[in-house]
């Protein structure tokens, strides 16, 4: 090999590595409609499952009669709670949810029985013939009453629930987490003492603002409904192909319910059509496996859209009360907050949501005295759990609204008040945890404020173009009543799992030579839910191993857990696992090269790298090409393979009395500025611009990052202006995309994105999870813009037209 070639090799970097925007491997298939989603799976002789659901939010089950259903021709099985082979309850963290209801139903839509038949229509008709006798009970619909009223009927009997004293459970309270700092921490003796402290602080404050806020129940609105295919196996186990967010946590819950060992329940990720938290909990998994094992045939479930609204958890609606006091120069003196999140009938992620709402409930502000109470409660409302930004989204709407109100009270620009109280590296959140990574909040706020403004309406080429006006093409205004407003929002989000959870990830990486070319295989159990992890895994392998050809193996439980595709954690955790496994592969390759005498004396491993398919030294140039070093795998060449776990640094539970503890792994922040045009007479809104500044530590894939920020901001826009699962008397009024509205492209404005890269010293590449922070900040920014245009208080998200025109709802 000529020396000149070596020099060229040295300067080459691997194409499509970290920091570039390679095309995602599933992108073309998705765009052309050829990608196989979980609902597209099909097998010869498979049966179709259907689920009978409770028509009542709260009722005692007196009896279930399946006789008539079994008589329907084509029906192969009708199963109830009596047929659950193992544990009759499951749950993400709290094992409180029946596989199939027994004794009682606790929400409308709860699964009571499942049917398998040779045709979906047959299954549905059989389902209608199942007779369930109910004694209807009073629903427990009011979350505040559930939290506070000892007389409130119980959704669960205490003895039925897992024992978690650290969560301060009581009555319908699933978790109560107080946090006290400053003078409030010193006055723990009684409520009276705390009130005295509060009265003293109030007296000291030049401005005090107190408001109640509500955030409605948001739906994740993924487009691919719950679906999967369970195939009975010869070993008595089952293979399940399913769209989920975390294969191993599914496996951990499914196996005990089936009375099987973990190894007998094997999961493979099927095509996922979006998740946003809604696939963290089980839906049809156990049901399909039960029916498959019972009938000996493959069983497929696909929920329809309406069923999907009952088939997954939603974002917790929240009722919140906040008080902030500040000095005349705009320094926060104290804040109190009460956040009640409605967990609905079963726990799901509620304890973790309370953990976030309490620890981050005051936002990214320096507050010397904080009094925070966060409650998660059981009601008979639809169960709520994980959704993008959970716990932090709800609180962010409240504390950001408070900051605007306080700024107005003090006559300060909303950005100025935020800057004066901004946290930075070294600050402590109210749990006492230090932010030990960059947090350039003041700079981000100022950068966001200084981004160019969108053109004024008069400057548009056609100011009367209906598509640019509130109400859009429905033609409600030609400019009448339209007022522009500007608002800001900033939020602080924990990234990765918190409170002592070791949500490690595992990666198996293999290097071999195939057809004369080095090829890397990356195998993890991580769920690709649309976010683009599948692309990032390949980028990391290319960068670490200097090889262009990377194959991503399907995600399944044949490799160790990757943790959940949630909490903005997969680039950090599974990215970290791939990086670590790649390092082990690389080390072994270096040692192989040494054994063959290809590394000159005196060169350390740190002097070596893999680049362009070769082992390269910074001083000696290319040492050996990988095909020469390893040899063709099919001809007995070396196959270098390592499986590695990656753990983030440990975190702690919050203490149950003062809420102190280093509970979070990493913090993320996004700042938004929204410019809105509001038809103040009709209460309709057009978001004109939604510009963001976000610090992501390190940009892994610029295009996918933009997608995350735009998508997160748009989901926040939905929560600001239209998205609410309306629940009345514990019943959903709008379980369809006809009446549950999500933003269309005509609702989605241009978004200017300013990305900062201040590396986090604790994380791989210095990266920071990016998916959630924009979902926090965009909602309060938009609502603030609407307030700016209308002068209305707007304390409910989403803002309804009624709120803007001043009609009581």
């Amino acid at each position: 090999m000529a020396a000149t070639t070596r020099v060229t090799d040295l300067s080459s970097t691997t194409r499509d590595g970290v920091g570039t925007s390679p095309r995602r491997p599933d992108g073309t298939l998705k765009v052309t409609g050829e990608f196989a989603y979980s609902s597209d799976m099909w097998m010869e002789d498979m049966l179709w499952g259907a689920t009978l659901r409770s028509p009542h939010p709260h009722a005692r089950i007196l009896g279930i009669d399946i006789t008539e259903a079994l008589k329907v021709a084509g029906v192969q099985a009708v199963l109830t709670h009596e047929d659950v082979p193992g544990e009759k309850r499951y749950g993400l963290e709290y094992q409180d949810q029946p596989v199939l209801a027994f004794d009682k139903v606790r929400y409308k839509g709860e699964a009571v029985a499942v049917v398998a038949a040779d045709h979906p229509e047959t299954a549905r008709r059989a389902m209608e013939r199942i007779r369930v006798d109910y004694e209807v009970l009073e629903p427990v619909s009011d979350s505040r009453r559930a939290a506070m009223d000892p007389e409130c009927p119980l959704v669960h009997e205490p003895h039925e629930l897992p024992h978690h004293p650290e969560y301060n459970p009581r009555g319908n309270r699933l978790r109560y987490q107080p946090v006290r700092t400053g003078a409030f921490a010193g006055a723990t003796g009684s409520d009276g003492e705390q009130e005295e402290v509060l009265a003293r602080l109030r007296a000291e404050a030049a401005a005090v603002v107190t408001t109640e806020y509500e955030v409605g129940m948001q739906d994740q609105a993924f487009l691919g409904p719950e679906s999967g295919l369970a195939v009975p196996a010869e070993d008595g186990g089952v293979d399940l192909y399913v769209a989920t967010q975390w294969l191993h946590v599914d496996q951990r819950q499914i196996a005990p319910a089936l009375g099987l060992d973990q190894e007998q329940v094997r999961l493979t990720l099927a095509g996922v059509g979006g998740a946003f938290g809604a696939r963290e909990d089980l839906s049809m998994q156990i049901h399909a496996c039960m029916l498959a094992l019972h009938t000996g045939k493959p069983v497929k479930f696909v929920y329809n859209r309406e069923e999907s609204f009952y088939g997954h958890v939603h974002r917790h609606p929240a009722k919140m009360r906040y008080e902030h006091g500040a000095t005349a120069d705009g320094r926060l003196l104290y804040a109190t907050g009460e956040v009640i999140v409605d967990g609905g009938a079963y726990a799901s992620a509620t304890p973790a949501v309370v953990g976030v709402a309490s620890s981050l409930g005051m936002g990214p502000y320096e507050i010397p005295n904080a009094w925070m109470d966060a409650y998660g409660v059981y009601t008979t409302n639809p169960p709520c759990g994980a959704m993008r930004g959970f716990g932090a989204v709800q609180a962010c709407f409240a504390y950001e609204s408070q900051m605007d109100k306080l700024a107005a009270e003090l006559g300060l620009h909303p950005v100025e008040l935020r800057v004066r109280n901004a946290m930075s590296q070294g600050s402590k959140v109210i749990t006492g945890q230090e932010i030990d990574m960059p947090l350039p909040m003041a700079e981000m706020l100022e950068r966001c404020r200084d981004l160019p403004m969108p053109p004024a309406r008069e400057q548009l080429s056609d100011p009367a173009d209906q598509r640019t006006l509130p109400g859009g093409v429905a033609g409600t205004t030609r400019g009448e009543g339209v007022v522009r407003g500007v608002g800001y929002g900033v939020g602080l989000k924990n990234l990765c799992f918190s409170e002592g959870f070791d949500d490690y990830s595992t990666a198996r990486v293999r290097m071999e030579v195939v057809g004369g070319e080095p090829v890397v295989l990356v195998h993890t159990a991580a769920a690709e839910v649309g976010q683009g992890l599948v692309t990032v895994k390949g980028q990391i392998a290319r960068t670490e191993l200097g090889v262009e050809k990377v194959v991503i193996a399907p995600s399944d439980t044949q490799v160790g857990s990757a943790g959940s595709s949630s909490a903005s954690r997969q680039s950090y955790m599974t990215g970290g696992a791939v990086k670590t496994a790649c390092a082990s592969v690389r080390d072994e390759i270096f040692s192989l090269a040494r054994k063959k005498g290809l590394v000159p004396e005196g060169l350390e491993d740190t002097d070596l790298s893999l680049s362009g398919g070769k082992v390269v030294s910074a001083t000696a140039g290319a040492l050996v090409a990988l095909p020469d070093l390893l040899g063709e795998a099919a001809e007995g060449g070396a196959v270098v393979e390592h499986t590695r776990e990656f753990h983030h640094r440990p975190t702690e539970m919050l203490d149950p009395e003062l809420g102190q503890g280093d509970s979070h792994t990493q913090f993320g922040m996004c700042v938004h500025r929204a410019v809105v045009d509001v038809d103040v007479d009709l209460g309709l809104v057009k978001v004109v611009a939604l510009d963001a500044v976000q610090d992501v530590g390190k940009v892994m894939h610029p295009q996918q990052l933009a997608g995350q920020i735009q998508g997160g901001a748009t989901q926040g826009l939905g929560l600001a202006l239209m998205e609410e699962v309306q629940v009345e008397g514990s019943e959903i009024r709008n379980p369809s995309f006809t009446d549950y509205l999500i933003p269309t492209i005509l609702d989605t404005p241009p978004m200017r994105i300013d990305v900062l890269e201040r590396p986090d010293p604790h994380s791989p590449y210095g990266l920071r999870g990016a998916g959630e922070p924009p979902t926090l900040s965009s909602t309060p920014a938009i609502v603030a813009g609407v307030r700016d245009a209308t002068g209305r208080p707007l304390t409910h998200a989403p803002v309804r037209p009624e709120d803007i025109v001043g009609i009581d709802v």
Binding site: A474, T476, R733, L741, L746, I807
Partner: protein
Amino acid sequence: MEFLSPSTLEEALEAKHAHPDGVPIMGGTDVMVELNFDKRRPQALIDLSRVPELSEWGPDNGTVRLGAGVSYSRIVEGLGAGAPGLAKAARTVASPQIRNRGTVGGNLGGASPAGDTHPALLATDAVVELASVRGRRRVAARDFYLSLRETACRSDELITAVLLPEPTGPQQFAKIGTRNAMVIAVTSFSLALDRQRRVVGTGLGAAAPTPVRAEAAEEFLAAEFDWEGGSSPSEAVVRRFGDLVASAARPIDDQRGSSAYRKHALSVMARRALSWSVTEYRKGAA
């Protein structure tokens, strides 16, 4: 379920005669949703998409005769001048894909009080043509809607066309939705000024169990309006007109909006539609 696909109107009418419970289907944008949601299990579906006459439109004795199966997209493209109120309404229907499929005949057949075309048909005094093996008859849109989702169309009849009078003055349509596209009307309003007959037409959607007119508002404005010069009505007249429109509504509180908001929005839309119409009227725009 039987699926019938007649290729001529005669065959279609015979099919409907033989299957009075059969559901006609054209674009399928309502019917298929109902079938998918299991809200409807008709004995027969009568596919009208192969009947050429239904997809045609053209002049007919001083009116535009619009086949019941002409898509909203074609109405938007072709009837902006011939039936501006209806064309504006068609533009607000759902998404491009649905506008390519959906039809006025389907809107009339479903007769949802929130249907987008009804207010314009009412305001412009359009006529619905019904046909059966017994022959054809015409029913004014204003007599067509009987009660919630009940119409004058009999079980053996098909909706074959609507007759749209030639516009002799401005026509408006506006509808409220909480997002800027793809919404079912929270409420909607249409206004037509008829310069020749000096009458005012209105239509209100999602404001009562059926699409309705605001007759008192029509009479009030017809009496107050300066038909000769087209001068702007006084603020008091505009306000009164809006109030009379709102008071014709008997809306409900539902998941899409409150009754009070619907009335409020109707009054605002009525006032705005009037002001746009006056401007256009003065310009002589038809």
